[in-house]
């Protein structure tokens, strides 16, 4: 296996080439606003670092979020197009699962990332023998609204950095690393799980239909 993994759901624009055993080469840059500019050069850099030609790739894994929409889509469309172009499979991984993988925490913990608008994307995990299992579906909401017993757990992701009063036990990693996206994807593939590439938006588009606007006017 020669897997290209990438993620654009957090502040990291991260790419790794993984052979099923180890990361052969990677490239990560922190810039939450320039995915369009930096992801494609990051891919060529990671491939060059790994000494792998794009024509040798057998699989692609991509973080499907949740994450801020525009950046997230850059990663998804890049993975889907590159997969189609090379005729290889593209696997979708929950980005919070990749962060949990990078945490290396035993026992219960929380992954909370920046959802902007004063909210976080979060899910609860349990680490056993280095393998994190997600205990709840990812959701979006204010950090202070997460149940108190969950907020008290160790936290990875930028959520704790942004809202330390609500999430006091914050730690690293803050952002997704593509090597972890590859690991999570490979473990799921070995277990025979399907990994559809479906973006996890968790929010509806910000817009009212003409009917909704009319109803709002009539209510007022």
């Amino acid at each position: 296996m020669l897997m290209l993994a990438l993620d654009t759901s957090t502040s990291a624009i991260t790419v790794a080439v993984h052979d099923g055993e180890t990361v052969l080469g990677d490239h990560t840059v922190l810039d939450a606003r320039r995915h369009t500019e930096l992801l494609a050069p990051g891919i060529t850099t990671a491939l060059a670092a790994a000494g792998v030609a794009v024509t040798d790739l057998t699989d692609i894994a991509v973080g499907v979020g949740p994450g801020p929409f525009t950046g997230l889509r850059v990663g998804l469309v890049t993975a889907l197009t590159l997969g189609h172009t090379r005729g290889i499979a593209v696997h979708g991984v929950c980005s919070l699962d990749a962060l949990a993988q990078g945490a290396g925490i035993e026992g219960d913990f929380l992954v909370a990332t920046d959802a902007r608008r004063k909210e976080v994307y979060w899910a609860r995990y349990r680490g056993e023998s280095g393998v994190p299992t997600r205990l709840s579906e990812p959701v979006v909401g204010r950090a202070a609204d997460i149940p108190a017993e969950v907020r008290a757990l160790p936290v990875v992701g930028r959520g704790a950095l942004l809202y330390p009063e609500a999430l006091p036990d914050g730690g690293e990693p803050l952002d997704v690393y593509a090597g972890d996206v590859a690991l999570v994807a490979q473990r799921a593939l070995e277990a025979g799980e399907a990994l559809p590439v479906e973006p996890m938006y968790l929010r509806r588009p910000d817009a009212l239909t003409t009917a909704e606007r009319q109803a709002a006017v009539e209510r007022a």
Binding site: L39, T70, L76, T81, P205
Partner: protein, 362 residues
């Protein structure tokens, strides 16, 4: 023929996911997936809805374009993509997809200007562009008069709208008349049964305006005038003659557009006028432009309606011209630029050439 570049073009600046393939000056396919129906219930294009639809449609539209044209991706010589102007989040989907194609195929990528593509599309319809050409681009987002000495390199804006785009005025007037979104085709249809008997204002055509805004347009006042006229009718308890209002409004828009475009041709000594953009699909605009150009001795070029609205073929056509003229590819680090000026016909590479060739050497 085979030494002409085979280029795939991607367009995602608004609500159409367009993928076209062109060989030199020959159109092979123009595949479109539109999210317009999803926007209709919002009464206008919602950027996030458009971006989500682009992501879903991108690869299937590429697949469909290749299958229809009988082209394998590996046959392509280059990729062109709209990098601006347009909706930022929507542009990013196309730009990222184009770069992935470039990486995967080891071919150059050109980030190109949406407005320049609207001009270049006529090359696959009516052959090489006369140089210079005068271009009138009218759509929901733009209303511009451009002097085009070289569509790959030299585009000079003469004038543009100072408020609403022409297509925007069609949408807003349609709403006032209770016609669905998008307004253009509905007003066009309604106007066929109407009489042009309401004298709506022609923006920026008075003596003083013709000094300061000779080649500029304004449609905001027209839209307000239509709105007031309709409200006055309703307030008086009378029926609104929708067909007459549509016809009179449409006449006011097309009168100003064609008058100023022909004036520009005459004053700049340009013998060819090309009209593009979604509003160029309007039947009255096409007819009036033909009449007035014939009278003025100007050659008019208007692509078929399907190539006037946003599409991928126009991007591919400009990309093919870029390759034929030996323009430098954009590399892989160019941005999506929502306010890209028309003078930037394509993204010039910032640094040394990208690592394509090295990747495919191995």
């Amino acid at each position: 023929m085979t030494d002409e570049p085979l280029v795939l073009g991607i367009e995602t600046s608004c609500d159409e996911t367009g993928v076209g393939i062109v060989r030199g000056e020959t159109l092979l396919v123009d595949a479109i997936a539109s999210s317009v129906d999803e926007h209709a219930r919002f009464g206008g294009v919602v950027p996030e809805v458009a971006s989500r639809a682009h992501l879903e449609a991108m690869v299937p539209t590429i697949e469909r374009a290749c299958a229809t044209a009988g082209v394998a991706l590996t046959d392509l010589d280059g990729i062109a993509v709209t990098s601006g102007p347009g909706l930022a989040g929507a542009l990013m989907v196309g730009v990222a997809s184009a770069k992935a194609l470039g990486i995967g195929l080891g071919v150059p990528v050109y980030g190109v200007n949406h407005l320049a593509s609207h001009v270049a599309v006529d090359i696959v319809e009516h052959g090489p562009l006369p140089e210079p050409t005068m271009a009138l681009l009218v759509s929901g987002g733009h209303s511009s008069l451009l002097l085009v000495p070289d569509v790959t390199d030299d585009i000079r804006p003469l004038g543009s709208t100072i408020d609403d785009a022409a297509g925007e005025a069609f949408d807003k007037v349609a709403r006032v008349l209770g016609l669905p979104f998008p307004g253009g085709p509905h007003i066009d249809r309604a106007a066929r049964d109407g009489a042009i008997e309401i004298d709506f204002p022609r923006g920026l055509t008075s003596g003083r305006d013709m000094e300061r805004h000779r080649y500029d347009f304004s449609f905001s006042g027209l839209k307000t005038a239509v709105s007031r006229w309709v409200q006055a009718r309703q307030a008086a308890g009378e029926d609104v003659p929708v067909a007459d209002v549509a016809a009179s409004f449409q006449e006011a828009v097309t009168d100003v557009l064609t008058r100023k475009a022909i004036l520009a041709c005459q004053e700049q000594g340009v013998g060819h006028l090309q009209i593009g953009g979604g509003v160029a699909a309007n039947t009255r605009l096409r007819a009036m432009a033909q009449e007035r150009c014939d009278r003025a001795g100007i050659q008019l070029r208007v692509p078929r309606p399907g190539l006037c609205t946003d599409n991928g073929a126009m991007v591919a056509s400009l990309g093919a011209q870029m390759m034929a003229k030996g323009r430098v590819p954009s590399g892989l680090d160019f941005p999506a630029d929502s306010s890209m000026p028309v003078t930037d016909v394509h993204n010039e590479p910032a640094g040394p050439a990208s690592a394509h060739d090295a990747l495919h050497a191995g």
